[in-house]
């Protein structure tokens, strides 16, 4: 499953993303790629949603992979040290391909 959030991931929009992610997990999705090419800003609330989704998916044997991060968003992930935690790919195809290979 590939999700495509867009715009600014600040406190209000992160709440929406959180609900969407929880919905997907509830439907049974375990391998999710977040294509971030349309996200131009992510706040700490956005990071929190990404983190809780990642934790939830990994506890269920799945994963959340990130693809196509813009420089500013990548830097936010880097500052928080989240690049050590998330698998980050240049594009969604690579991320999905990695899932297919069992990664």
């Amino acid at each position: 499953m590939i999700v495509l959030p867009a715009g600014r991931l600040d406190a209000p929009s992160s709440e929406e993303l959180k609900a969407d992610m929880e919905g997907l997990i509830g439907e049974g999705w375990r391998k999710i790629v977040a294509n971030m090419e349309e996200v131009d800003y992510i706040s700490s609330s956005g990071l929190r949603v990404m983190l809780s989704t990642l934790k939830k998916l990994r506890s269920l044997g799945g994963d959340l992979k990130l693809a196509s991060l813009r420089p500013y968003v990548r830097e936010t992930f880097e500052i928080a040290g989240f690049t050590q935690l998330f698998k980050i790919y240049d594009g969604e195809e690579e991320a999905a391909g990695d899932f297919r290979r069992g990664g």
């Binding site: 706040s43 700490s44 609330s45 929190r48 983190l51 500052i79 040290g81 050590q84």
Partner: protein
Amino acid sequence: MAAETLLLTLIDKICVIMVAAYLITRTRRFSEVLDGRLTRENQGALILVFGGFSIFGTVSGVEIFGVIANVRDLGPMIGGLVGGPVVGLGAGLIGGVHRYLLGGFTGPACSLATVLAGFLGGAVYLLNRRRFVGVGGAVVFSVFAVSLHMLLVLLISQPYDEAVMVVRETAVPMIASNAFGMLVFAFMISNLIKERKTASERDEYLDELEKKRMELLIAREIQESFLPETVPEVLGFDLAAKSIPAKEVGGDFYDFIPVSEGKIGLVIADVSGKSVPAALFMVLARAILRATATGDPGPSEAARRANDLIAADAKSGMFVTLFYGILDPGSRTLRYVNAGHNPPAVLDGETGEIALLRTGGIAMGVMEGADMEEREVVLGEEDTVLFYTDGVIEATGGGPDQFGIERLVSLIRENDHLPAADLVEKIAAEVVAFGGDRPQFDDITLMALKGRGAG
């Protein structure tokens, strides 16, 4: 009676009914009954009012084409419809007994009908689950009850022939005038119910707002009460800090920890989330770091242990980005770990170069057992270190731009001559001004450390 006079008389009676309806429905007791508070006092008051209204109905009967149409049944019916069987019956008895005492061959039937109308109104109230039945239902009920009145006259009154005549002449005007009176009353009552519903919804909304406001206040108070009240004196350095919480506080904090003789721990941190949860998490993180830092095990060890404790406590997704440095004024070194926090900027006073204090650490609470790399920087007498949170560089104004690290760096350069306290004030003012009229959406926290003594 001439048609004109009849019309005027009718209008006269209608006006009386309307005024009575308005006055009665606006009383406190009537409102209470509408809210379902059927106390003895309220029931008694309504019995008297609607019983009185019933008597008024009898004595004000309008003569139409030689017969008298009256609205005696109206009071007890309304009493029953809004106040239940007791009110209906009570008001019906008052109006009925009064009518009975007036005598006449239809006396027993008419008085019985009035009592019955009140009682049946109460039955409708009960059947409608103790609520007023609404305008349509009330008017239909009044037609039914007055028709029953007519039927009773036919069944009971003797001689039968005269009873038939009376009913033939009065049935239509009686039913019409009671239905009209009921329409006026029911309309006012249902308006009143709507008004009260709107008012109670508005109150609920205001309560919610008030709760939210209290939450914001509490969060702010928690956060502020855990910020240091004073800045410690550090030999050979000039230190200052400032935090401006957002309306919905974002869990920023700074701290000074006396780790050992002469050495001081400097902390700046930002908890994820907002309001009360963020403020409480801030208190937790601050206390844990204070505990692990005591005895000076070194920044790396203190941060590693703090991270494990916070991670064990962090509910899904809660985390805190935190910079922790130990300043040794003797050797002029700052040993630090950066757990996912915005890297503090060091301005070299001699070269004008800026260095960012990163260690690649991960935010605390995210990963148990995370390694916390430690680094060291030596601070010259001309150097300035500025610690800040994301509320500073992510502040937005009227345009699409954020305040940004470049603006911050040039501000540090331009104001390098200022003492630490003035520097944080200056930068805070610039960030707030950059935000313009837009509400500050995250806490703004700044700490400045200058390499030369405050004097």
